[in-house]
Structure formats: C-alpha cells, structure tokens
C-alpha cells in the first residue's frame, strides 16, 4: 500500500530534518550568510535612524536574500548528493513536494527567528504591533517555502547555479514581499499597511500552493 500524500510528506520531512541536522555545515553557512547580510546593512547605516517604512523594507530585503541561501535546499542538496534519481523513483510527487515544503518552512522560520531579533536590536526598532509582524513573517515564509521548493526543483540540473534561483524567485515572490513590507511598516508604527494585505498574502500563498501541487506532477513524472 502506497502511503497517503500526508503520510508520505511526513516521512520525507522527517528524513530531510534528520539529514540536515547531521550536516551542520549547511546550517552554519545559512545562518552566517544571514548574519553577514545583516551586518552589511547595519554597518553601512552606522547607527542612523530610519523611518518605519525603510526599516520594514530593509528587514524584508535581508530576509529575502538570506532565505535564498536556504529556500532551495530541499532539492539543491539532493541534486548535489546524487540522490535525486533515487527519490524520484521511490517517492510519490505530492509526498515529496509537501515534505520538502514543510522542511523548507521549518528552515526559514528558524532563519527568521534568528534574524529578526538581531535586526530589531541592531537597528533599534520599536515594535508597536508585534502580532502583525509575526503574522507577516509566518505567512511570508510560507510563501517563500512553497515557491522556493517548486523553483528549486526547476533549477536542478541548470548549467549555471549561482544566482539563477534568486532570479527565478523574485518576480514570483513579489506579491508576498511587498504586502509583507507594508504590514511590517504597520507593525513598526508606520501607516503603510492594513489587515487586508495579510488576507491578500494568505490568498496568494494558497494560489502558490495549488499551482505548485499541479505543476510539480509534470516535473516529477515524465509521461
């Protein structure tokens, strides 16, 4: 009996987490990359005070670029290790997709949990509405993990590795990125956002999910 997509996704996700915790270099690289991006921004501002809108924009730029080092890990690692053909043979498409999305989501949440507090400290940001920030980040990372998993699968086997994933990601993730900035602006006390942006982001996440699920079958099965 082939396991259900849900059970299969759980199996894949457990495998991913187990492998990734044993491969500490991956984590070090991702978190250090995030720290470097943050340091870059923070140092170049050298203590200047920013208005909430710019603070929000910078936070998302840092989140976006540091997540680029992690959001495609689901497939890039398998491609590099040569295990992708094995997974392709044994795993059903939806199990693999959603297992990897779940894993990437965990990865990005850990990244955000590491990065956001540091950002708030370094840039001395006041949060007036913390729940909105939390919601924007969770919904934003969900979108990044869905789009990142599908596009990571697309980019496997590409002849040029560096950069192509980011290039593919940016246009697709803008509908999460821009409202995310507006909501964060609101959380920081600005006047940019409103609750309907969050709804828009959630809707877009759902669209990404449905499309990824439909399209991934075509990548996974050749016939």
């Amino acid at each position: 009996m082939i396991p259900s997509a849900f059970e299969g996704a759980r199996i894949v996700m457990c495998k991913e987490l187990r492998v990734s915790f044993r491969q500490q270099a991956g984590w070090c690289a991702m978190l250090m990359f995030a720290l470097t991006t943050l340091a870059c921004v923070s140092l170049s501002l050298s203590g200047g005070i920013l208005e909430p809108k710019l603070q929000a924009a910078l936070l998302w730029v840092i989140l976006f670029f540091s997540s680029m080092a992690g959001a495609d890990r689901g497939f890039a690692d398998e491609d590099m290790a040569g295990t992708l053909p094995t997974l392709r043979l044994y795993g059903a498409s939806q199990s693999v997709l959603w297992g990897k999305v779940g894993y990437t989501f965990c990865l990005l949440l850990i990244l955000a949990a590491f990065l956001v507090p540091l950002y708030l400290i370094f840039l001395d940001v006041m949060i007036l509405r913390p729940l909105w920030l939390l919601a924007a980040i969770i919904v934003g990372m969900a979108g990044l993990s869905i789009a990142g998993t599908l596009l990571g699968a697309l980019a496997t086997g590409a002849s040029v590795r560096g950069g192509i994933f980011t290039v593919l990601m940016l246009p697709v993730i803008l509908p999460v990125f821009l409202p995310g900035i507006a909501l964060t602006d609101m959380a920081f006390g600005g006047e940019g956002g409103s609750g309907s942006y969050l709804l828009g982001m959630i809707l877009y996440d759902l669209m990404l999910g449905v499309a990824a699920s439909l399209l991934f079958d075509y990548l996974w099965y050749d016939d």
Binding site: L154, A158, V167, P171, V172, L174, G192, G200, A211, Y218
Partner: protein, 217 residues
C-alpha cells in the same frame, strides 16, 4: 504567410500616417500624445505575449508538444523585446509629461515585473539542458503567470497609496475623441499582427534551420 505581411505593412503605413498627420495635439499633452500610439500597443503586446507563452506552456505539459515549446519560447523572446520597448517609450513619455523618467507608477511597476519574469524565463531556458528544457520552461511560464492577478489588482492599490498624487492617464483623454480611439484600435491591431507575423517567422525559421531539437538560447 505573405498575405499577413502585406496587411501588416499597409496597416503600419496607415497608422503612421494618421498618427503623424491626422491626430490633433491633445489637451495637456500636446504633440507628445503621438507617442502613446506606439507605447500603448507595444505594452499590450508585452502582456499578450506573456499570456500566449503560458498558454503554449500548458500545451507542452499536457501533450509533450515540442512545436508548442518553440512557440512558447519565441513568444517569450518577442515579449521581452516588446517589454523593453514599452518600458523605454513609457519612460520617455513619463519624462515628457510628468518630468521624470521613472516614478514607480503602478503601470511602470507592472511592466518592470513583467521584464523580470521574461528575463528569468530566458535565463532559465539558457541554463537548462535540452532534454528537460521544454517542461521546465513551461512550468515556469505557468507558475509566474500567478502574479498576474496581483499585478492587475493589488499593485495599483499598493502604489497608489504610496504615491497619492494623481496619476495622469493617457487613455482617459483618448476615449473622448473618436479619431484617437479608432487610431488607437488600428495601432493595437497592427502591433498584434506584427507580433503574430514575427512569431511565425521565428518558429518556422527555427524549424527549417535545425529540425526539432537544436535550439541555441
């Protein structure tokens, strides 16, 4: 298709003649309005080419149709060129009427995102080995198509709220004057025919040149 070439040629000549000699200067825009008859059709074809690329993409996925892949790729390449033309003509128009080349007006944002998508699509095509190219490109064409509702419905809101100053809208003027309207419709039709003709030219030329599989980009 020689007939379509003649039609395109005649129509283009007629449109250029009308735009240069018949269309009166618009209130507020003066003679600059003539640029709109190039800018609006080119922008329309940018969007149309994107739509067609995604349409042929789903054919590739569903039927393993390699001809559809060639069409999808050709449409994206043309779309990229048209988008560049639309962006540049738009920037010039913007400089002449609003005083700056770029000010993240909703439409400028939309066309810029379109440019990014086309760029990403063509980069992906160039980087993926032949056997997987058709499927991978088709999946990206369709996946990036998801952004369309966002570009159409959300971006105007998002950017309108950031730029509260009224945005001058060329089409608002044009709809009032029947000469403007009909010239614009003719120009749109003409540009669409040019796109179609170029598309078939590329697809047929490509098939004549190297059979079914040896694409270069």
């Amino acid at each position: 298709m020689p007939v379509i070439h003649y039609i395109a040629f005649a129509l283009t000549a007629a449109v250029i003649f009308t735009v240069v000699f018949v269309v009166p200067p618009a209130e507020g825009l003066g003679n600059y309005v003539r640029l709109a008859f190039f800018h609006i059709p080119v922008a329309w074809v940018s969007v149309l080419a994107f739509l067609m690329s995604a349409w042929w993409g789903q054919k590739v996925l569903r039927h393993h149709d390699m001809l559809a892949d060639a069409k999808s790729a050709a449409s994206a390449r043309l779309g990229f060129i048209f988008t560049v033309l639309a962006t540049v003509s738009g920037a010039v128009f913007s400089k002449l009427t609003w005083g700056s080349y770029w000010n993240w007006d909703p439409r400028q944002t939309t066309i810029f995102v379109l440019l990014l998508i086309y760029g990403a699509y063509l980069t992906l095509r160039a980087a993926i080995p032949t056997q997987r190219r058709a499927r991978v490109s088709a999946v990206y064409a369709l996946f990036s198509f998801l952004t369309v509702p966002f570009l159409v419905f959300i971006i105007p809101r998002l950017y309108f709220s950031l730029h509260p100053q009224p945005v001058i809208n060329g089409s608002g003027h044009i709809e009032m004057d029947p000469v403007f309207l009909w010239t614009l419709i003719a120009a749109l039709l003409d540009m669409t025919i040019i796109y179609w003709g170029l598309l078939y030219h590329i697809v047929c030329g490509h098939r004549h040149k190297d059979g079914k599989d040896g694409e270069t980009i």
